[in-house]
């Protein structure tokens, strides 16, 4: 599965490496987006790729998300494997019709005449003082579309393996990158020094090709007392809190929201009898609602406490009050206490 030497990478470098490898392996792979070419992306995810692979493989686009995704659909119909970047997930909405009505349904509506092997990469989530237009978590909008896969990595090793699998997938994938943890995992304590990825095991990334199959969750921490379902940044915040409080929690990093690893969720909740769902996105109709419904449908007779959700609030993401909004350690600890009370 793995190949090549191991190198210490942060998440940006791992994502860059995944695209580099796919550009190398598959002449039909193209990478495009606003500022991704010569400059290498506002988060540097595509740094060096244009120089290495050429301007027709890695290029800048107009500031036009409808165009970026629409053009990628046409490239896919031709036979290319486009990897468009939407600079912030908050900017994806102008391209949503092309994603929902076109990319997602092309295989279905044409009964396999045409497919859309596109991977839309986009940074999402808060914690970088991005205000209400650079902090959103629109994953449940994506999972609500039929025909799109939704993937969210939480560390460099997974990011690379999942992105390669996403690019190789013959269906459209929305690959949401938690930008708060691009450079290091996040404990949830914004006032503590930032820890770099180099101190984390998952920064040991093979330089060569490997893939992590979509649709598989990872057990971040085994435990008996409560199952914590999380993804992206919140995996690390959850881990910090349960370790600080000495809770024997089992943390599942979902990694792919659709298709979801329901077997892993079911097995864990049946074992622990308790379930906490954590996401940064707004609460109402968030992906947590879907998870709570599934757990209730499949594990009801194993549950010893109501399923709890810790989420962002149903407000736009505020700028100055970012840390009051963020579902941090206090909100998580309060929910854990409630679930574990009796």
């Amino acid at each position: 599965m793995m190949s090549g030497d191991i190198k210490t990478m942060n998440m940006i470098e791992a994502i860059n490496s995944a695209m580099d490898i796919m550009l190398e392996r598959d002449p039909n792979t193209v990478v495009m987006g606003e500022d991704v070419g010569y400059f290498g992306g506002v988060f540097r995810a595509t740094a060096g790729l244009q120089k290495k692979h050429g301007k027709t493989r890695v290029f800048d686009t107009p500031i036009n998300e409808c165009g970026i995704i629409g053009v990628a659909v046409g490239m896919g119909a031709y036979g290319l494997r486009p990897v468009p970047e939407i600079q912030f997930a908050d900017y994806i909405y102008p391209g949503l019709d092309q994603l929902v009505s076109e990319a997602a349904r092309l295989r279905y509506r044409s009964a396999n005449d045409f497919i859309c092997p596109m991977t839309v990469r986009t940074p999402f989530g808060g914690g970088i003082f991005g205000g209400q237009t650079h902090s959103q978590s629109p994953e449940s909008i994506m999972t609500h579309i039929c025909g799109v896969k939704t993937v969210i990595p939480s560390n460099p090793y997974d990011a690379k393996g999942l992105l390669i699998a996403a690019i190789e997938d013959n269906d459209p994938v929305v690959f949401l990158e938690p930008k708060r943890i691009y450079n290091g995992p996040f404990s949830g304590y914004y006032d503590r020094p930032v820890e770099p990825w180099s101190k984390h095991d998952a920064s040991a990334v093979p330089e060569g090709y490997y893939r992590i199959d979509l649709g598989k969750a990872a057990t971040v921490r085994a435990g008996e007392a409560v199952t914590v379902l999380a993804y992206g940044t919140m995996v690390h915040v959850a881990k910090t809190v349960v370790e600080e409080r000495g809770i024997d929690a089992e943390i599942l990093d979902l990694r792919t929201l659709l298709p979801l690893d329901i077997d892993a969720i079911e097995a864990s909740v049946r074992k622990t009898g308790r379930c906490l769902i954590i996401h940064e996105a707004t609460r109402t109709s968030g992906f947590g609602a879907e998870l709570a419904a599934l757990v209730q449908e499949r594990c009801f007779y194993h549950l010893e406490a109501p399923v709890e959700r810790v989420t962002g609030f149903d407000t736009p993401y505020p700028h100055s009050l970012e840390w009051a909004y963020f579902p941090g350690p206090v909100r998580i600890a309060t929910a854990l206490d409630k679930i574990l009370k009796d």
Partner: protein
């Protein structure tokens, strides 16, 4: 908060909001005498590599070849052989015969929906004849002429319209939303103008691979108001994409006249000016002009001289679709008052004038095509029609959402199969 019905005291004249209004409504007698019809040979033909800013006048003129007596004149005359001209006529007549028959089939309750292209046949047929067979077409919903011109089997079109057992799209799509990759015909969406940036993407891919094929794409003047249209033109100009943009200006978008897409202010071809691409405005009821303009644009694209926007100035003679009643919003005889006539009648007249056709042959061909459509229809109806039984296995509903069916769709499929059994018993089979 200011009150909605009051305004601050001011000695300025009040502003007024313009709501476009078509000139003629039901009961009016339409008169299109003020439409400027330039002389047939008045519009010059620039070379295919002309810089867009040196040919802006083309966006405001009108490419014409056939005068109203059926004579081909001027620099745009494509000088097609009689064989090609007769083929063009036949494809247009077949398109019309097909439309008439399928419209009637909808009225007979054999399908849910149909859309005719009456009066606009040239914009698809002549346009398709002017490009290579391997060029990729991104149609809107009114380009049946394109499939017919590429000799796509009529029965497959009908099977799709009927959502019957022979429909290779498995009954998933609204009638006329065909898909035919082997005929260079992209899957029709139904959402408006979404195919515009897709065509640009296809053309960019072709160029980046050093291919020689170009893309062509169609939309109506109404949907040129969509953001996708403008996204597409932006990308096309930025990357000099080998693509032909067709705007079929048939004057009406359901009940909204072209004024609601900006047609009162300028031509649709003039959209090209702002993007710095070539624009041509063409008499869309003149098949030879449509052919010549498309050929020009195809040559331009194929020689890396970039995209062209072609406005086909035409008229939608019938309703938007079978669900539409144009007598509720426009004057009854606008189609007959339209100064550019009918494309089939005009090509017929031209061929007759050349001594290559006559009324007898025309009527015989009309009967032959009507018979062909009728026979094919009977064959198709043997495979079922919509609403009379269900023709697809239920589980096809869940196939092709993804390449491989994930667990949640398998579960839902099982649920549906249990419902099927509860409703129809264990031995039910598609009809």
């Amino acid at each position: 908060m200011p009150e909605s019905d009051s305004r601050p005291a001011s000695n300025l004249p009040p502003l007024s909001l313009h709501i476009p209004e078509p000139r003629y409504r039901p009961g009016d007698t339409p008169d299109f005498g003020d439409i400027v019809v330039p002389a047939v040979d008045a519009t010059p033909r620039p070379s295919e590599d002309t810089k867009p800013d040196a040919m802006r006048d083309m966006c405001y003129g009108l490419v014409r070849v056939l005068d109203f007596d059926g004579v081909a004149k001027g620099p745009w005359d494509p000088k097609l052989s009689a064989v090609r001209l007769r083929a063009m006529l036949r494809y247009m007549m077949l398109t019309r015969a097909f439309d008439d028959r399928m419209f009637r089939a909808q009225r007979q309750g054999k399908t849910s929906f149909y859309m005719k292209c009456t009066g606009e046949e040239a914009t698809s047929v002549a346009s398709t004849m002017a490009i290579d067979r391997s060029d990729m077409c991104f149609p809107s919903y009114r380009q049946q002429g394109l499939l017919i011109t590429r000799d796509y089997p009529l029965i497959q079109m009908m099977n799709q319209i009927y959502s019957n057992r022979g429909d290779h799209l498995l009954g998933r799509q609204l009638p006329i939303m065909y898909s035919a990759p082997e005929h260079g015909f992209f899957s029709v969406s139904g959402n408006l103008a979404t195919q515009y940036p897709q065509a640009v993407g296809w053309a960019m891919a072709s160029a980046s691979k050093g291919d020689t094929r170009i893309a062509t794409v169609w939309c109506g003047e109404g949907s040129s108001a969509e953001g996708d249209f403008h996204s597409a033109l932006t990308f096309a100009t930025v990357y000099n994409a080998p693509v032909i943009f067709n705007v079929v200006n048939n004057q009406w978008a359901i009940s909204s006249f072209s004024g609601f897409a900006g047609g009162e202010r300028t031509t649709f071809a003039a959209r090209a000016v702002g993007y710095g691409i070539a624009g041509l405005r063409v008499d869309g009821n003149d098949p030879l002009a449509v052919y010549a303009a498309t050929q020009w644009a195809a040559d331009r694209a194929r020689t890396n001289n970039g995209p062209t926007l072609i406005e086909h100035f035409t008229y939608r003679s019938e309703g938007h679709s079978t669900s539409d009643d144009p007598s509720a919003y426009r004057a009854a005889d606008e189609a007959t008052a339209w100064p550019f006539g009918d494309p089939i009648a005009r090509l017929k007249q031209h061929l007759e004038m050349l001594g290559e056709w006559d009324d007898e042959r025309h009527q015989a061909q009309a009967r032959e095509l009507e018979e062909l459509v009728k026979t094919t229809q009977k064959q198709s109806e043997k495979l079922g029609v919509l609403g009379h039984g269900m023709h697809q296995p239920f589980e096809t509903m869940f196939q092709d959402v993804f390449e491989e069916m994930p667990w949640h769709l398998k579960e839902q499929c099982d649920q549906m199969l249990a419902e099927q059994e509860a409703k129809f018993g264990p031995n039910w089979k598609p009809e």
